[in-house]
């Protein structure tokens, strides 16, 4: 499970460059992962917009993440009856093994919140997508300890910004150069 994960720090310009290359190579769709009130998936064919690379909550567990699939794939939400009544819809890899999960992370106040790419699936399409993304991340970003670092995110680290999984995490766990 852990071997198909890549963790990175990237901001708007880093992610634009990354996704620019990836979206040139493959026609993709991006569907928000999570637990929702409706079964509507509302996928998009590109993540290029002004919000890319800006974290909204300052904690990677509360930032948006996307299931990424080839454009022709049909993704399925899981119906989750609620104990309190009603139904929610879960969008994850559980019923969609042909996907990877991509969380961009990004800038939040004087911090950069970590992003990640991963899959728990052994489906061929998923592994191909994982390889496509991870190859480009490794080509464009600098490896620093257990993370890959986008160019601008690296400059922000040099200026004293925190690179962290959450603004509430103790600073000892932030990414730092030795």
């Amino acid at each position: 499970m852990k071997r198909h994960q890549v963790h990175f720090f990237a901001v708007h310009s880093d992610l634009m460059a990354l996704l620019g290359e990836i979206e040139k190579k493959r026609e993709l769709q991006f569907v928000k992962a999570g637990l929702f009130d409706t079964p509507d998936l509302n996928g998009v064919t590109s993540l290029f917009d002004s919000h890319l690379g800006f974290a909204s909550k300052g904690d990677s567990n509360f930032e948006v993440s996307y299931l990424v699939a080839e454009r022709q794939e049909s993704l399925i939400p899981e119906t989750v009856p609620q104990i309190a009544g009603g139904i929610k819809y879960s969008v994850s890899q559980k019923l969609n093994p042909q996907t990877v999960i991509f969380q961009p992370g990004g800038r939040f106040e004087q911090c950069v919140i970590s992003g990640s790419l991963g899959t728990i699936s052994e489906a061929q399409t998923s592994l191909l997508l994982f390889q496509l993304f991870s190859k480009e991340i490794k080509r464009q970003f600098e490896k620093l300890k257990s993370f890959y670092l986008g160019k601008e995110a690296g400059q922000l680290l040099g200026k004293g910004w925190r690179l962290t999984t959450s603004v509430k995490s103790p600073q000892v766990y932030d990414l730092q150069r030795d």
Binding site: M1, K2, H4, Q5, H7, A33, G34, L35, D59, S60, N61, F62, S65, V80, P81, Q82, I83, A84, K88, S90, S92, Q93, K94, I101, S116, G118, T119, I120, L144, K145, S146, F147, L163, T165, S166, K168, S169, P170, V172, Y173, D174, L175, Q176, D178
Partner: protein, 171 residues
Amino acid sequence: MGRQAATLRGLNPNETYIGGAETAVGSSAGRIEPPAVKGQLTPLQIVIQRAEENANNVESSGSPSARTGKLGKQSTRDQIVDIAGKLKQHGWQIVGGGGELPEEYLPGPRGRRRGSSYPDITATKDGNTLRVNTIDTRADGVTPSTREANNAARIRSQKPDDTVILVPKPK
């Protein structure tokens, strides 16, 4: 499994520790909020309920090995998926692990791989984050092994504001 369920049944769901201070399982005191709405369960109650249901299933169908076929990894994976399913039914969103997504990565000091953690389940609800780890125990079926206790302590130090619940792996 029966002992596991009995042990879990003996808990006060609003307490954050299972066992004594040295064998603490859970988050720092007071992190698990009591139900905000009548009829709503705390995360710990949800996990206990799931563990009890699992225990009952195993008891009614013979030995765990007869049920799962493959002991160890598969039974633990099933347990993790079960707990995640229960959390979702209570409105928790799975954001890592749970057989649905890659496990959350908590880096070690200064972003190193050394000292990092991968909780089995990470879930969020109403601004709160809950992590569940399945653990190996000592012979008493309750006390975490030294390794698991260290792992739990590390996760608590990495995310001191959040809740950690440890659940014994199926025997």
